[in-house]
Amino acid sequence: MAKKEKVYIYKLYERFWHWTQAFLIFFLALTGFEVHGSFTFFGFENAVDLHNKAAWAFIILTIFTIFWHFTTGEWKQYLPTTENLKAQAQYYIFGIFRNAPHPTRKTILSKLNPLQRLVYLSLKILVFPVMIASGLAYMFYRYPSQGEILELGIGSLETIALLHTIGAYILIAFVIVHLYLITTGHTLTSNLKAMITGWEELETEEGETPVSQTIKDPVGEKIRENTPQITPDRYENKEEI
């Protein structure tokens, strides 16, 4: 029988990264679309300035996060898998309405379901690189002078700007869907709480510990040691959609 255990799933840096990134994407979209001419909020000049600053913050954050992914081995979380992919899709399309169980069990070793793996991976290796590359090209091409990137032979700013704008639309669509899918955890807010506190109640198999030994997490280890054991009966009464 599966039981539930409160585990420390999102480490401090991970949460810092996630929320900073969330804020930055929101802010980049806000300022970016003002630059795009969609609305006036900060004023064009301020929007450009803020967008550029936030972009650098985003780049710095990304560099740190790449480092984090490799030093912690967390990058493996994003390796795509076809296993359960169909089941996961079917769950979102049908199962979820029938109160069916989540097809993929969330563990510390494997926090992401196959769909998440695929989507987040494509953000990491496709959308973000395109946004950063086109954004940097935009900065150093700017409009008038081809500037320092003359050598790249980019015909016009238009190419760069269109790529960047397409990426921006895709990111916004992602954010919308992402915000909604947050609510599809065990409870409406369990995913959100987990990303804020780091702790989430996860199902574990009998005799299995959700804590992977392969992932070094001294901070988490310490916190876990100091956390009282939780009895399964608290979860009998599932409050789940």
Partner: protein, 525 residues
């Protein structure tokens, strides 16, 4: 709670640090300070002409004045014979034409149309004496008028209809003893009055510049740098920097802002990168004709109307003539917002021998070359002067009318008000074919705006151009301007994607909610 605090600290603190690192360190504009210091030094002449013996006398023959100047300045006469102010013609290479010899001597314009057969009056502004017709001797150095440029008394007057000769009987003794470096008043004597009156032609060059504040012209403002024309139009051996593209064609010897301000004058690097494709003038001359009106439109076709058998004039509220029997309809404007064009510093001109293309909406008296893909081109503010001029619908050439004469009855339009005769006389003078028929063609002339630079605080702001609608660049083609240019396909697909995402999410949520309630009912029963 502790977690929240940690979270806020871990999110906010690094962001604040990043922002502080990226904050622009404020610099001081050293160069501007240096320029201010340099140009606030008064010009100290090396010579006091009132001490020269040869100048202690009266003159009544202006050629003699010139000869006296040349007696000391021995090489300047020859120099002047090669100066554009005297030759009114210059050798240039024009794309599509080859080598040309063009200038006021043989070009058309969109105002009084041309000097031909009107020399005696038009050439009052020639830096010479006696250019009254096409037989003028351009090789005689004693035909040069030194005083119009070098009189520092501000009193020297050239005679109306006098072919460049001065009004007789002036106090030449005082004038010659007070010659010196040309002042604004010297240059302005002609350049403020192009087109036959103050500010008619250029819009950014007019009498008000002699007394205006730096709000009107940051360089010439009397409460500002109070510069003279020649401070920027730097002159060596009577060859001055500066191009007026009504008569010039080449991208050489231009007077540029960069001469003093360098190509990277802003503290903000973002602005400096604009310099590559945007002329300084575009942002820094947000409007011209800031004091007196300039003529924007000149319709020659309505000239010749009479009231009670007499010539008449109509004026607007500011006192500008909007109709004159001798000149036709006119439109005037103050605080004009320029039009913007790509321009690479080279130009072409419509010649008397060129064919009028009647399929075009209008004829270009001059053409500014340039486009977005040309690395030499930048976006410039331009005064576009629109007009209607007579042309020959059979031979398809522009016609020249005889406008002026000393006496009535010799076919001058401005006296006899007879187009037919004026055109015949004008074309006869030019010795060019004329079918005898005439009609009018719409014309445009392009005058880049360079003066009346506003204080930096009044320069255009980002959103003046970076805006979807009605921006300054709304008619500028070929460049991607963020905030202005959009790609309809990308934007509609993008918005569609967002709408679909919302709809998808909402539909999913609704079904989830309904099925949840249903499941609940099933469980509880």
């Amino acid at each position: 709670m502790k977690n929240t605090v940690t979270f806020i600290l871990s999110v906010v603190v690094p962001l604040v640090i990043i922002t502080l690192i990226l904050r622009d360190a404020s610099r001081e504009n050293k160069l501007l300070a240096e320029l201010k210091e340099e140009y606030s030094q008064p010009h100290i002449p090396s010579v006091d002409h009132s001490k020269h013996e040869v100048l202690q006398r009266d003159f009544d023959n202006p050629h003699e004045i010139t000869a006296t100047c040349i007696s000391c300045h021995t090489e300047r006469g020859q120099e002047l014979l090669n100066s554009f102010h005297f030759t009114w013609e210059r050798e240039d290479f024009i794309e599509g034409r080859g080598v040309t010899y063009l200038g006021k001597r043989n070009l058309l314009n969109n105002f009084c149309t041309g000097i031909f057969s009107n020399e005696a009056t038009c050439n009052r502004c020639h830096a010479g004496y006696g250019y009254s017709d096409k037989n003028f001797d351009f090789t005689n150095q004693y035909n040069v008028d030194c005083l119009v440029c070098h009189d520092n008394t501000g009193s020297y007057e050239k005679l109306r209809g006098g072919a460049g000769y001065p009004v007789p009987g002036q106090d030449f003794r005082t004038i010659v003893q007070n010659v010196g470096r040309p002042t604004k008043a010297n240059c302005g004597y002609c350049h403020f009055h192009g087109g036959g009156g103050n500010n008619v032609k250029h819009g950014d060059l007019e009498e008000a510049l002699l007394t205006a504040s730096r709000q009107v012209d940051v360089h010439m403002g009397v409460d500002g740098a109070n510069l003279e024309c020649v401070d920027c139009h730097v002159t060596q051996n009577h060859v001055m920097k500066g191009r007026y593209y009504g008569v010039s064609s080449a991208n050489t010897r231009r007077a540029t802002c960069e001469q003093c301000h360098t190509a990277a004058p802003h503290l903000d690097n973002m602005l400096n990168t604009h310099v590559e494709k945007i002329a300084c003038q575009t942002c820094h001359i947000p409007e011209y004709a800031k004091v007196n009106a300039t003529k924007m439109f000149w319709d020659w076709s309505t000239a010749g109307e009479l009231e009670d058998g007499r010539a008449f004039e109509l004026y607007d509220e500011q006192g500008n003539p909007i109709y004159q029997s001798i000149k036709g309809d006119a439109a005037w404007q103050t605080n004009v917002i320029p039009e913007y064009f790509w321009f690479n510093g080279t130009a072409d001109h419509f010649l008397l021998s060129d064919k009028v293309d009647t399929t075009e909406a209008f004829l270009r008296i001059n053409t500014l070359f340039g486009d977005a893909n040309d690395p030499e081109s930048r976006i410039y503010p331009v005064k576009v002067h629109r007009g209607r001029q007579p042309y020959d619908p059979v031979y398809l050439t522009i016609l020249q009318a005889k406008l002026w004469d000393r006496e009535a009855g010799r076919g001058a339009l401005w006296i006899d008000l007879d187009w037919e005769r004026a055109l015949v006389e004008g074309m006869k003078y030019l010795d060019r074919p004329y079918s005898g028929q005439w009609d009018f063609v719409d014309t445009e002339m392009y005058l880049p705006v360079n003066h009346m630079v506003s204080p930096a605080s009044e320069a255009l702001q980002c959103q003046d151009c970076h805006t979807r609608t009605n921006g300054r660049m709304q008619f500028v083609e070929g460049a991607y301007i963020p905030g202005k240019t959009t790609n309809a396909a990308v934007d509609s697909l993008g918005v569609l994607l967002i709408i679909m995402s919302f709809l998808g999410v909402i539909t999913h949520a609704v079904i989830r909610y309904i099925s949840h309630r249903k499941n609940k009912v099933v469980t509880s029963s």
